[in-house]
């Protein structure tokens, strides 16, 4: 019997580290109280955004989907409605990021807003499709989308600040 070997590439390690970071934020955020189910800042998406800028869409997709998977396992919501909503949101926001990053001149704030709106829209469509095919859901959509817009702007500003800081650090490392 041959022992199976895993070749852990540099990228694997990077994805694992970044996903771990995103999961920590995801878990910490789940402890925050929320006025309405489904409204939360989505700070873990800042990591997705940073990864997108630094390592591209492929790595960002890995980090985002691992975050959803492991986050749900740790919170005990794996395969529950919450998980499905989370997954739908993550996929929608990845799609938005893939399209959004081709827009010339777009910065972290614009991308974060696109991702946040897509995330919320994805969740709403999933909620409508699987759980709650009732018009009342759409009555709430302005609130949900409005909050997504606000939190998207906030996430983008934070992501930009982090990028500036990382740039400063890397410049001082390499004279």
């Amino acid at each position: 019997m041959t022992a199976s070997t895993f070749n852990i590439t540099e990228e694997d390690g990077r994805i694992a580290r970044l996903a771990a970071l995103a999961i920590i934020i995801h878990i910490a955020e789940s402890a925050l109280p929320s006025p309405l189910p489904g409204i939360k800042p989505g700070l873990a998406n800042i990591i997705t955004l940073l990864v997108l800028f630094d390592y591209g869409l492929r790595t960002a997709a890995w980090v985002s989907l691992l975050r959803v998977l492991v986050g749900s396992l740790l919170l005990g919501t794996f395969l529950s409605p919450t998980f499905l909503l989370s997954l739908a949101g993550a996929l929608a926001s990845l799609l938005a990021l893939a399209i959004g990053r081709t827009i010339p001149g777009i910065g972290p704030v614009g991308l974060a807003v696109l991702a946040a709106l897509a995330h919320m829209a994805g969740q709403l469509v999933m909620a409508w499709w699987v759980f709650l095919p009732h018009p009342a859901l759409w009555k709430l959509s302005p609130v949900f989308m409005g909050m997504a817009l606000v939190f998207g702007i906030v996430s983008g500003i934070i992501a930009h600040a982090v990028m500036q800081q990382l740039n400063l650090n890397s410049e001082s490392d390499m004279p």
């Binding site: 800028f53 777009i106 614009g110």
Partner: protein, 131 residues
């Protein structure tokens, strides 16, 4: 590997970002208007008399309809999709003071004359409205 992050401008929010945010605001506004603007004007007025008979009056054509009750003739005026008791042979004129009825579910009645009006639409927002 050169990091594309280096190309990020020092500018926190670019013009494109503002454009994206504006589109987002537009989407939220359109959602708010389309989802929250209630239009529930009634289509028909259902009138009952003291004998329990029921007639349906369309609110689309303006006219004044007379209906006989216990005391005499009540006049219902329909104008611009609204209806009111224009005149009634009662003493207190509570029915007339109810004013114009517009939304589905709104109602007015002249109890002495036995005449009541309830507005109805195909997509009622409330089952009934009481004051």
């Amino acid at each position: 590997m050169t990091s594309p992050r280096k190309n990020i401008s020092k500018q926190r929010i670019t013009l494109t970002d503002i454009f994206v945010i504006s589109i987002g605001l537009g989407v939220v506004s359109i959602l708010s208007i389309s989802q929250w603007q209630e239009k529930d004007d009634a289509d028909i007025a259902i009138v009952h008399n003291n004998l329990g008979e029921q007639i349906h009056l369309s609110l689309l054509d303006d006219h004044t309809h007379s209906i006989n009750g216990r005391l005499g003739e009540s006049q219902l005026q329909i104008s611009g999709g609204k209806v009111r008791f224009k005149d009634s042979p009662c003493n207190q004129h509570v029915c007339m003071r109810a004013g114009w009825l517009k939304e589905s579910g709104e109602a007015a009645a002249c109890l002495p004359n036995g005449i009541s009006v309830v507005l109805h639409s195909d997509t009622p927002r409330y089952d009934s409205i009481n004051f």
